[in-house]
Amino acid sequence: MDLPIDYPTLRVIWWGLMGVLLIGFALTDGFDLGVAALLPFVARNDGERRMVINTIGPTWEGNQVWFILGGGAIFAAWPFVYAVSFSGFYLAMFAVLASLILRPVGFKYRSKRPGKTWRTVWDWALFVGGFAPALVFGVAVGNVLQGLPFHLDGDLRTHYEGGFLGLFTPFTLLCGLLSVAMLVTHGAAWLGMKAERGAVADRALNIGTVAAVLASVLFGFGYVFVLLGHMGFRIEGAADLAGPSNPPATQSIAIAGGWLANFAAHPWMWTAPVLGFVGPWIAVTGLRLRRGWAAFGGSSLAVIGIISTVGLSMFPFILPSSIDPRSSLTVWNASSSQVTLFIMLCVTVVFLPIVLAYTAWAFKVMWGRSTVAALAVNPDLY
């Protein structure tokens, strides 16, 4: 079939769209995770906690779809990536699912019964539902940067040689903490905009400041790890950009410093790490000046910068293999067929703007600060 867009271009577009979806998830559901992780610490009594939950009450459900869509889009556009990562991270994935299942139920059910024990249990379930996914996503990205211990056999079946505990190394824990710090900053900035001024906002401001400073420091440490840890992969010779998706046909090798090569070749890419480093400081400034919007803008820039840095440094690699570099999944060898990528692009071009439009409308309708006083008079609140 003759398609108006060639295969290599489609692959790059879908690499970019995967980034857009992950960033979309981190920008929207990211502050929900951050707020949930902050819940027991910024809000001390039941009224405060309900107020905090109601800052995200009407919109967390839509935000969460970015995660589901991310999974679906990776399945459709990068089936190898979907197959290798989710089966490889099997138990970690279960931990994420279990925490993400607790989260919606926690939002919805927590305030439906008066008991103190009941509510306290759900508060901590919500904390786990925010903290654990943030940590595991970071740890997972760290593992991807190091290379995953998997290989593909002759039938292209994936075999993962690592276990659950093997996921945790100093570098991957650093990535996990960076992810938590980044999303807690984002959550604190959100509370700065959406929570009523007072004790809760002040606590969020203080924790958010610490988290933002930590995020920029950890991001810097991450760079040092990549530099000194000699991490990186490269494709030997010319890659077949339009070749069939069959990873072992590509000559991928592990090479020290490979993750920094793109920045050397394309200096404009430094924009991403600079954003990742500066964003948290804008957030700190906004928080200290009590400018919610500035803080949220800063934490958003941090999210965009940090995630883009990972993607750009690895391009064209998506999931490199540490034990069999030839099994590594790249933009050129792990995608769906050209037809599927094209159809999915058409669907995305039509529907993503519609989704963004009604999401913006929903946020607009629900705008305004959440207050403790409203809990007494508005029966719709959680």
């Binding site: 009450g57 009407p58 967390w60 839509g62 969460q64 779809v65 589901i68 869509l69 999974g71 679906g72 889009a73 399945f75 459709a76 556009a77 089936p79 190898f80 979907y82 197959a83 290798v84 990562s85 989710f86 089966s87 099997y90 138990l91 994935m93 279960f94 699912l97 279990a98 299942i101 607790l102 989260r103 919606p104 139920v105 939002f107 439906k112 039938d155 292209l156 079946r157 994936t158 075999h159 993962y160 069939p244 998706s245 069959n246 769906s336 067929s337 037809v339 599927t340 159809i343 669907v347 989704v355 009604y358 999401t359 929903a362 309708v365 629900m366 207050t371 409203a374 508005n378 719709d380």
Partner: protein
Amino acid sequence: MDFAVVELSRLQFALTALYHFLFVPLTLGLAFMLVIMESVYVMTNRPIWRTITRFWATLFGINFVLGVATGLTMEFEFGTNWSYYSHYVGDVFGAPLAIEGLMAFFLEATFVGVMFFGWEKLSKPMHLLTTVMVALGSNLSALWILIANGWMQNPVGSAFNPQTMRMEVVDFGAVLLNPVAQAKFVHTVSAGYVTASAFVFGVSALMLLRGKWPEVAKRSMTVAAAFGLASSLSVVVLGDASGYALTDNQKMKLAALEAMWNTEPAPAGLTAFGFPDMKTHTTYAAIKIPYVLGLIATRSLDRQVEGILPLVATAEVRVESGVQAYDAVQRLRASPNDVAARAQFEAHKRDLGYGLLLKRYVADPRTASPALIQKAAWDTVPDVPVLFVVFRIMAAIGFAFIAFFAAAFLMVTLRRHQTRWLLLLAVVMMPLPWIAVESGWLLAELGRQPWAVDSVLPTFLGASSLTVPQIWTTIIGFTALYGTLAVVEVGLMVRFIRRGPYGAHEDLIDPPGAPGHRGPAPAPAPAE
């Protein structure tokens, strides 16, 4: 191939899917019933309809959130437990799942927040519009999921690519317009509407039996009886039998659920009752109703419904042909330009999956003996006694609801809502739709065995390379988590049903006699 891993992965998938499907049907139906109730409110402007809508919306919310939460598991379980399946069919199967997220789930999830929190922030028609969007989103969601599932039952519009060792899309239109998917969609959402109608009618009956809130209960019953009668007719009349003539696997499913071992002269009779025996290929104590099966399955008097034994003979030929296809694939992978191998592949490719059935017994299907080929052909027969039973449970409940809702519709039309036998019957029948829908899932998916994708990929090949302890960990984890959530959910449902439509919160903003739409939150605005 570790078969313990395969069987445990199947068990986990079945448990998580059956659990997810406890919540989905109610969501599908209740969303539309909320639209009906709220439309009446917007058109008549009578506050009682607002009270009714909000009462059922509260119960909807408690149920909805678990459907969403457990749906997360389904989205990722293909990757975690069925990674070879994900690789093998992701090019085709992933697309409807992704489109479901983009087109349907975003719609449903974004508007559901506005629906619950926007009562005081939106005009009445705008709020009704958000409710419509929630109903539309959840039902579109079902459409895309069933397009994905329909492709597993009848894999149209795709072809195997030896260079990438997977199925790839050749005609996406065919995947969308798959007749099996369409039949399944209508059948499944109708079943959801019946479930919701039975729920609303049953809960209302409980209220009347306790002498509580008759003004809410009676109106709800009227909506439920009408919606339930239409849906229960649709679920049976537009059942997914229409897809049963399409593929060998679908024919096998039909023969198996009827325990019809041999082809009978057209039109075949329907076995109402019996004891099928897999070993002797006989159904003992069978009670047959002449002609009915042939009429339903083929929509004709003269076309035959094939029996299990002749279908196994067909399968044997296809396994032999599949070995040829497998051989051609191996040669094409070694030298992609081998013309003879390409010709051989083209001639036998539709049977490649049948060749893969042999991988259960030998690493290389080309070395299989005739005895193994025969064994593989017999593997295409699903579990006949189980299908025979679950089909009868599902069908019996389906017909029972037509009778029930016909009676209910008659009684509410005559304004005899308080008829005691009807109320008691409604309460007794309330759990039955769930038994029917779970039976229907078992029928559709056990009936698909041994295939993950009909004639393309055997289920056992689709599993991930995991270990038994890993899967036991997650099975135990899911069981504990889901079990706890089920108890919590039912507890909350009961609590809010007992509290009724004028719970503490409602009193807050709807003092008796206050009409219509109210000022914006948070102020307890005075009546207009």
